[in-house]
Symmetry: C2
Subunit: 191 residues, 2 copies
DNA sequence: CACTTTTATAGGACAGTGTTCTACTCCAAT
DNA sequence: ATTGGAGTAGAACACTGTCCTATAAAAGTG
């Protein structure tokens, strides 16, 4: 009997399979393993699928990081009724996501990718809402919530970016230092 | 007449030429242009030089970012006698360097490179000294200067990382937002 | 100065990359 | 049942990092 050909993957699944495979390969083996042929093989799909369903490799990566930002936004959200606790929880959730998906996090904020604007803005909006909640509780200083959120985001992103790149002084405990950073930021934007 | 062969580059210059060429190519055409063959051609040197003088492409990039950190440390330094002004000046110098050399800055803090530890620590030490100066002037809170410096560094790095990646809300003015961030950080570590 | 050792060079080779093309074949809707 | 869209296999192209060889020029030695 002749060699059995691979069956076709239903059209509706090719796209999702490719994104899932890319995500899995990225987190398991690192970004170097993110090759078109490798992702297609992991997804059980022909390499051409990357070009039929996405705009080449870059398009696929954009879809991956867009999915990442969706998950990220949901993960950051904190529901503590106390405004100060909510801000700290969000900060800790932020770090937890970055540590859980270090390579995805790096990709999400790299210049190689352009996530869907609406989705990325949505994740940012989660933080803006938390800032607003703090302002309403008179815990956070008055001012443009978007601007304040951008500043807070920059701080936590910088901390995680450096921690993941192992660019921090090795004698400092990352977890402890991150807690200090959160308190510093809270002090910096306090009412 | 036959084609003239390229003359040999003196051994002592090959290394420096390669680093300079890589740096120039990086900042002129972006990191995609940083190929072994491309850098060698820009340096007027044979591709093998990258393997004779460095540990392959990665070794060359490490040398480039190490040079970058040397320059960075010198650039950050501020000499204002007023402690608060010195901190702000250093912060502004930080941003100026990142804007002057955006692609080098990105490479310096990417996971693809490992700068010489001593040099990178030296650049960090510049900020530590500024923190100490602020503490001596009773402007910055007491506490481990290294830990405080790491927090400040994280904030400014995050801001520039997001600005260079154009990951900030487009309706915010980067320069203005950065100034706000510096003030926020100063407030966060104030005595 | 002559001689030896070191080292840069040219050029080819290898596997692997993103991308595109063709030919084929299967699935689904008309 | 037939037609057209969509997934597949496989080859091809110009690149990439890396390594190898042979040659020639520079640097160091007597």
């Amino acid at each position: 009997m002749p060699t059995v050909k691979n069956p076709r993957t239903p059209a509706t699944e090719v796209r999702a399979n490719l994104i899932a495979a890319a995500r899995q390969l990225l987190e398991r083996e690192g970004s170097d393993a993110l090759t078109v042929r490798g992702v297609a093989a992991e997804a059980g799909v022909a390499p051409m699928g990357v070009y039929n369903h996405f705009d080449g490799k870059d398009g696929l990566l954009d879809a991956v990081v867009t999915d990442g930002f969706r998950e990220f936004g949901a993960r950051i959200a904190a529901t503590d009724s106390d405004a100060a606790a909510r801000l700290l929880s969000a900060g800790r959730n932020y770090r937890a996501f970055a540590l859980d998906h270090p390579r995805l996090y790096e990709l999400m904020f790299s210049t190689k990718c352009t996530p869907d604007d609406e989705v990325a803005t949505g994740a940012f909006g989660v933080l803006v809402d938390i800032i607003r909640y703090g302002q309403a509780a008179n815990l956070i200083m008055a001012g443009d919530p978007d601007s304040l959120a951008a500043q807070v985001w920059a701080c936590v992103h910088g901390a995680m970016s450096l921690e993941l790149a192992e660019s921090q002084p090795p004698f400092l405990d990352p977890a402890e230092n991150y807690e200090h950073l959160l308190l510093m930021v809270a002090r910096g934007i306090a009412a």
